[in-house]
């Protein structure tokens, strides 16, 4: 066990955990931030995606000890009031079905838009094809990313 300092959604925490614990479980079990989802545990599906200093990272295989001084953002910290363009676009385009994978989809898309404010279909496919959705919302995800990029939410 080791004491580890974390900055999550601009708040500071100290946790006492096995340093090999994946960041996912620290967020969920120690900090109660359950918006970040467990699904595959092997970085295969992207449901657990969070940002480390703005970069998309799969928290289910990312040891908490490797976070270092990076600032962590989870879906709960993306915006305090659903103001992020992607959240607005997701609601407008009725993307979510069960909704379980959507935090990972949105966090992955947010990192994409931060890098490429106007992504092409190919850019979106490239980045988003590694985030799985069993309900089959892909077509709407792609559309919502374009809507957010174009500032098109009514």
């Amino acid at each position: 066990m080791a004491k580890i300092n974390l900055t999550v959604n601009d708040k500071n925490y100290t946790v006492d955990v096995d340093p090999k614990t994946p960041l996912l479980w620290v967020l969920r079990d120690n900090l109660g931030l359950t918006g970040t989802k467990y699904s595959c545990g092997k970085a295969l599906c992207g449901a657990c995606t969070v940002h480390l200093d703005g970069k998309a990272v799969r928290s289910c295989t990312f040891p908490v000890s490797a976070v270092g001084s990076a600032s962590i953002t989870t879906i709960e910290g993306l915006s305090s009031d659903l103001k992020h363009p992607l959240q607005k676009a997701w609601i407008q385009e009725e993307v979510s079905q069960c909704g379980y994978c959507q935090p990972g989809q949105i966090m992955t898309a947010a990192a994409l838009l931060a890098n490429k404010p106007n992504p092409s279909d190919e850019d979106i496919d490239e980045t988003m094809s590694s985030v799985l959705c069993r309900c089959g919302t892909y077509q709407r995800i792609r559309r919502a990313i374009h809507v957010a990029a174009e500032g098109g939410v009514r």
């Binding site: 096995d18 931030l33 599906c45 079905q97 909704g99 379980y100 935090p103 089959g136």
Partner: protein
């Protein structure tokens, strides 16, 4: 035209409003039999199973007993109530009811049934509340009720144009008698039904605040994972937990029906503890079972006659008389549901109570497991229903509920038992593998004279292998359908659209073979054989028109299929194109559905899109295989899901028809794989008779 409907007062229950809570009405939705394989809940109940409350602020809260798993019934069902209630949609809220047989009757969510079976009752419920509010307003104004009209959460006095908000009327409304009959609106006056409204609670799905089963917390909640015998049906012989127990944070190690549970303060510790267990397994009767053995068993079984499902005319005679007879065998594998949220359940058995928090489609089963495991009276077992991160039929089962209740019963502490992805895939309740032999003979005009289909699959539930085989819609004078069940002890269950998945593949691929053998166009051939069902023809025509059937661009190839299920009719055209390297891509999938009245058209389209993708995933990748009794797939690298890049263009169309609503969630699934197979035939001349599709030329992305 508006109509009047008589009210059976036994269907309604009015709560007293002395506490000033406003108008609260309970009403009853019918219960049903699921797939013909389970009946304990199929008793018509007159206990109310939906509650409608209007408080003094005018907020309408509808408490539903059915469960949300992504099918958006938490929006479409309230829309139906709100329409007749003349509610202000912005003030409609939805609440999940706990399991309560007395209050709700059946709460099972499945069979694409929620809207279909609730439509009329929900309308009546809304209308009853509306009439009581109108009566209250009429009494207030001392005018006849026919001088009042309800609109957008208010009652209007037609003479004075005065308005009273519902919130102002609830106390007096609650004192009105439940009316004997209520007028229902003319569908042409619908303002809410038929609109594509945004989902209620959509916010929670984009800000991380939705609490799925896996997210549920309780004070002092422990977390457990279970080490399960890798061989399906195997048991623990003995185990050594000495290392596990030295891990800080591990609280208990207990043996349960499904294996050895490691209970810890948190998930990661439980997973580490499980890894440190040393277990000797009794691998049981399946130790040598493999997919090859299963396949051989199912194939051999079609040689002998089975239980007859349908016998029209005389197939034997027709086959003798026909000049042309074709026979083909088809085979499809086991499939797992693999919802993104793995199976999990939380339970707390303490003193004389067992509380269960389950993401479940069938809370009654969770309740029954609670009583069976604990021996407690039914009234002391409480089941809370949590939203599901996907289900697709998997959460009709209760194996994962048993895990939690057994562990909590042994340790008498609140515990969440979750499955890691490998366990979830390797210990599923699978869509059964099936083997089919089908033969058809043609008359002198090339149309089928006979159809003979034998389904072979694992038992013990015929409903999981036969659905959709005997209901073949084509107008063929001689039809024989039978089935054979083999004793293969792999757990099986309903998978989105159940046995329609296997049998629509067979029906729709084989009718295509007959059309080609007759030298006829596959669309027109089907159309001719469906003339007796105008609604089928309409769906077929719509999909052909929208897909530009037969007029596709050069280098594009189309396949068509249609299948009725869950009281709806869905048709699919898959269009392939060729790339520069000569590979085939799935370019586009066009879907048409007749689901009667579409309550929330965009919600219907979302289900069609999702159903097509689930079905394409199965057709391209889906296979659970066994070796030495062990499921060989373990995660999304070898049980693949379709990705965004692989998703073709999806176009969905809803037949505009004035009929009551029917199923939506499942009907798009069955016709998709055969439409794909038929398109591959059109492009390559190769018939696909086994799934998943094994054809190297087919590139799986646009």
């Amino acid at each position: 035209m508006s109509s009047t409907t008589a009210i059976n007062r036994r269907d309604f229950l009015k709560l007293s409003t002395s506490a000033g809570i406003g108008l609260v009405l309970g009403f009853c939705l019918p219960t049903k039999k699921l797939y013909g394989i389970d009946s304990p809940e199929a008793v018509e109940s007159f206990a109310p199973n939906v509650w409608l409350a209007i408080d003094r602020s005018g907020t309408v809260t509808i408490t539903f007993s059915r469960c949300e798993m992504g099918q958006k019934i938490w929006t479409s069902l309230p829309m139906i109530v709100a329409e007749e209630l003349e509610a202000d949609w912005s003030k409609v809220r939805i609440k999940q009811g706990d399991f309560n047989r007395a209050a709700y009757g059946s709460q099972t969510t499945g069979g694409s049934a929620s809207v279909r079976t609730s439509y009329n009752r929900l309308r009546r419920a809304g209308a009853v509340a509306r009439e009581m509010l109108i009566s209250a307003a009429a009494q207030t104004w001392k005018v006849p009720v026919n001088r009042c009209r309800a609109e957008n959460g208010t009652v209007i006095n037609l003479d004075t144009k005065q308005k009273l908000k519902y919130g102002e009327l609830t106390e007096l409304a609650a004192q009105q008698p439940i009316p004997d009959e209520v007028p229902l609106k003319d569908p042409k006056d619908f303002k809410i039904i038929g609109q594509s409204l945004k989902s209620l609670n959509a916010d929670l799905r984009v800000n991380g605040k939705a609490v799925f089963g896996l997210d549920f917390k309780l004070p002092g909640l422990l977390t457990a994972v279970i080490a399960r015998c890798p061989v399906i049906g195997g048991k623990v012989a003995n185990f050594d937990d000495s290392i596990t127990k030295t891990i800080p944070g591990v609280r208990h190690v207990v043996e349960v029906t499904n294996g050895v549970a490691v209970v810890a303060d948190d998930t990661w510790t439980a997973i580490k503890g499980r890894k440190a267990l040393k277990i000797t397994w009794d691998e049981g009767p399946n130790a040598n079972l493999s997919s090859e053995i299963i396949s051989e068993t199912l194939k051999n079984a079609v040689e002998k006659p089975g239980t007859v499902l349908r016998d029209d005319g005389n197939v034997e005679k027709a086959e003798k008389e026909s000049r042309k007879k074709i026979t083909a065998d088809f085979e499809v594998p086991y499939l797992d549901h693999a919802p993104m949220e793995p199976m999990n359940c939380t339970a707390y058995v303490h003193e004389n109570t067992c509380e269960i928090w389950a993401p479940t489609q069938r809370p009654s089963r969770a309740h029954r497991i609670g009583t069976q495991v604990t021996g407690l009276d039914a009234k002391n077992v409480i089941v809370h229903i949590l939203p599901m991160g996907g289900a697709f039929g998997r959460r009709l089962q209760y194996d994962y509920v048993r895990d939690a209740v057994e562990v909590s019963n042994l340790i008498k502490a609140p515990v969440k038992v979750l499955r890691t992805r490998d366990e979830d895939i390797q210990h599923g309740t699978y869509r059964p593998a099936t083997y089919h032999r089908v033969s058809g003979s043609l008359d002198k005009n090339g149309y089928p004279l006979s159809w003979n289909h034998r389904v072979s699959g694992p038992g013990p539930y015929p409903g999981l292998i036969t659905g959709g085989a005997d209901t073949l819609a084509y107008d063929i004078p001689n039809i024989h359908v039978d089935y054979v069940m083999s004793d293969i002890s792999i757990p099986t269950g309903a998978w989105r659209s159940v046995a329609n998945t296997q049998n629509a593949f067979v029906n729709e691929c084989f009718i295509d073979e007959l059309a080609v053998a007759a030298g006829k166009d596959p669309y027109l051939y089907r159309r001719k054989l469906l003339e007796i069902y105008p609604r089928m023809v309409k769906v077929l025509d719509l999909v052909a028109e929208k897909a530009h059937w037969g007029n596709q661009p050069k280098g594009h190839f189309q396949g068509i299929a249609i299948h009725p299920s869950f009281h709806s009719r869905a048709a699919i055209v898959v269009e392939l194109n060729t790339d520069k390297r000569g590979g085939l891509n799935i370019h586009k999938v066009v879907c048409a559905i007749d689901c009667g009245l579409a309550i929330n058209p965009d919600g219907v389209k979302a289900q069609l899109e999702g159903g097509i993708i689930l079905a394409l995933t199965a057709a391209l990748y889906g296979a659970i295989t066994l070796k030495n009794g062990r499921v060989q797939q373990s995660n999304f690298h070898n049980y693949k899901l379709l990705t965004m890049r692989e998703t073709p263009l999806l176009e969905t169309y809803i037949v505009d028809i004035d009929e009551p609503p029917t199923g939506v969630g499942e009907p798009p699934v069955p016709p998709t794989p055969p439409a794909l197979a038929n398109a591959i035939f059109a492009a390559t001349g190769k018939r696909i008779r086994t799934l998943p599709v094994d054809i190297k030329k087919l590139r799986r992305y646009r």
